[in-house]
């Protein structure tokens, strides 16, 4: 009993230490950061945060990132819902191969796709828009959403489908009115993971944007200037990228474990 608590405490400390250090640095001035190691900021300054929230080239990075993440999540879920239903209820020509092919895209290295995506989205005129990144992220998020939703849908007995059909529900009405509420938690879990993987990805997001749709993660590289690193600003930007994730986790905290198990992620 005691041993378990010790292991857990040590592990959580290990997870929190680097984050504590980032927060600590973001509240210091650059002179304090470079002049010596202090475990706590001597004078707390919010200048780094103020700069990010007042400079359009900084905060637009957050808006761009959140825009393509939102588009991608909505797109992935709405495409995956009917497909997952088909996989969970019917057998059809090539279903197993199709399922494996979808999954294999989740396993494809983004590095392989960076250059062809650049050509493709430039050719269709989507380059440097949130849509390009949102569509590119569909490559791994749609298969993931199909996989998660299929797992949840298979847990719903098909007698429900049949009863609804006898009661005179048309398929779209049955699907929206009866079926979707039954797998609401599954949709939540799938949306959570789509958000997560689109939010953390940088390689494709950076390759497919230049100015207008630049994600915050790419903006962060700007802190390297002729005058050296602006460590405080970099740390503050880093802290702010953790916030949306932390908020999402807080809302789904009671479903995390269940989601990981059922969602087979």
């Amino acid at each position: 009993m005691r041993g378990r608590a010790v292991v857990m405490t040590l592990y959580l400390l290990f997870l929190l230490l680097p984050i504590y250090w980032l927060v600590n640095m973001s509240l210091k001035t650059n002179t304090e950061i470079t002049s010596g190691l202090t475990l706590w900021p001597e004078t707390i300054t919010f200048d780094n945060y103020v700069k990010i929230f007042t400079d359009a080239s900084w905060y637009s990075g957050y808006i761009n990132s959140l825009t393509y993440v939102a588009i991608n999540t909505v797109l992935s879920i709405s495409l995956a819902l009917p497909a997952a239903y088909a996989f969970s209820r019917y057998r059809f020509l090539g279903d197993k191969h199709l399922f494996f092919w979808l999954l294999s895209n989740r396993m494809a290295p983004p590095a392989v796709f960076a250059l062809p995506f650049f050509n493709l989205y430039s050719a269709v005129g989507l380059f440097d828009t949130p849509w390009a990144v949102a569509l590119a992220h569909c490559l791994f998020n749609v298969p993931l959403a199909v996989w998660i939703l299929e797992g949840f849908m298979s847990g719903v007995p098909r007698e429900i489908d049949e009863t609804a059909a006898i009661d005179g529900y048309s398929f779209p009405r049955f699907f929206i009115k009866i079926f979707m509420p039954l797998i609401a938690s599954g949709i939540g879990v799938a949306a959570f993971f789509c958000f997560m993987f689109s939010w953390v990805e940088l390689l494709l997001a950076r390759t497919l944007t230049s100015v207008d749709a630049k994600p915050i993660a790419a903006t962060m590289t700007r802190t390297v200037s002729a005058a050296g690193m602006d460590w405080g600003l970099l740390a503050a930007a880093g802290v702010l990228t953790i916030v949306p994730g932390a908020l999402v986790i807080w809302f789904v905290r009671n479903y995390i474990a269940k989601g990981f198990a059922l969602g087979r992620v």
Partner: protein
């Protein structure tokens, strides 16, 4: 569940098929197209057949040597990662508190690293591990250990491994925890009546119940560590020298840095095939395990 045969189900799958095909097949065709051609710039391409592939798969050439170096380096990295994260994840999952507010607290803290953008993970460790301004680097240096991840290959390797453990062990732990939660209390009570030892409970009840999630954990951790790009790119940029240049980093250098399209495309295809082969083996094992389980239950 018995599924009925219904070819019309294809219409439900069609939107997914179109979108994924658009973002998977079209780019792959481009890659295949590049891989058999050579260019001297000006958008003039020449047929090169399987020339790039021959060069790539022959370790004595410059390209092949570079590829195999990165490949072995990456496989070694994945092996180290699996050897650390899987056992550690299991231990953490077994150590999770059973009830009270500490459960939610632990879950939130554990999930936190998973939702940090990957380049920020690199940045966090960049500032944390620096000798002058980072807590970790400063402490290690003051303990008398020479440690500098910018100049010393061994330090760079250790930093990247520790960073990955920090970043991803929680995923393994959460998966295992979910597996453990699905074990009914009756199993433990029966074990207590039988006087089973802690070890026996682990090997005969907990481990078999976690088999499926563990398989998924191994699969995911292998894939993602084999595709790792952003974190080492931010932290070390593949250096010092080529010490931490994994396959993805090498590939991006070749494709977007040098614009060696033919070579990069050939490398992409071989790289993708390696991953696909491993993925297929895992998938088959998993499906077979499921089928076995169903037979036992039936």
């Amino acid at each position: 569940m018995n599924k009925t045969v219904n070819q019309k189900a294809w219409f439900l799958v069609l939107p997914v098929f179109v979108v994924v095909a658009f973002s998977a097949i079209v780019p792959l065709m481009t890659v295949v197209n590049y891989s058999v051609q050579d260019t001297f710039g000006n958008n003039q391409f020449f047929w090169n057949g399987v020339g790039w592939f021959q060069e790539l798969l022959d370790p004595s050439t410059e390209l092949g040597g570079r590829f195999f170096d990165a490949l072995w380096r990456n496989l070694a990295f994945s092996a180290v990662i699996l050897a650390i994260e899987i056992p550690l994840g299991i231990v953490v999952a077994l150590s999770m508190p059973r009830h009270g507010w500490t459960v939610a607290f632990s879950l939130v803290v554990m999930a936190l690293p998973l939702l940090i953008p990957w380049n920020v993970v690199g940045t966090i460790w960049q500032v944390f591990a620096r000798g002058d301004i980072g807590l970790l680097g400063w402490v290690v240096n003051h303990l008398g250990v020479a440690y500098n991840y910018v100049l010393d290959p061994a330090s760079a390797w250790i930093t990247i491994v520790v960073m990955d453990v920090w970043h991803w062990t929680s995923l393994v732990a959460l998966l295992c925890y979910a597996g453990l939660k699905s074990i009914p209390d009756a199993y433990y009570q029966a074990a207590r009546i039988d006087g089973a030892s802690r070890l026996a409970v682990f090997t005969t009840i907990q481990l078999p119940k976690m088999r499926r999630v563990l398989l998924i954990a191994v699969l995911l951790r292998f894939m993602d560590s084999f595709m790792i790009y952003t974190e080492p790119f931010v932290l070390t940029g593949g250096g010092p020298g080529n010490a931490t240049t994994y396959v993805s980093i090498d590939l991006v250098k070749l494709a977007l840095g040098q614009f060696d399209l033919g070579k990069a495309a050939a490398m992409s295809i071989v790289y993708n095939l390696v991953i696909l082969a491993v993925c297929w083996v895992f998938y088959t094992v998993m499906v077979n395990a499921d089928a076995e389980k169903k037979e036992v239950e039936a």
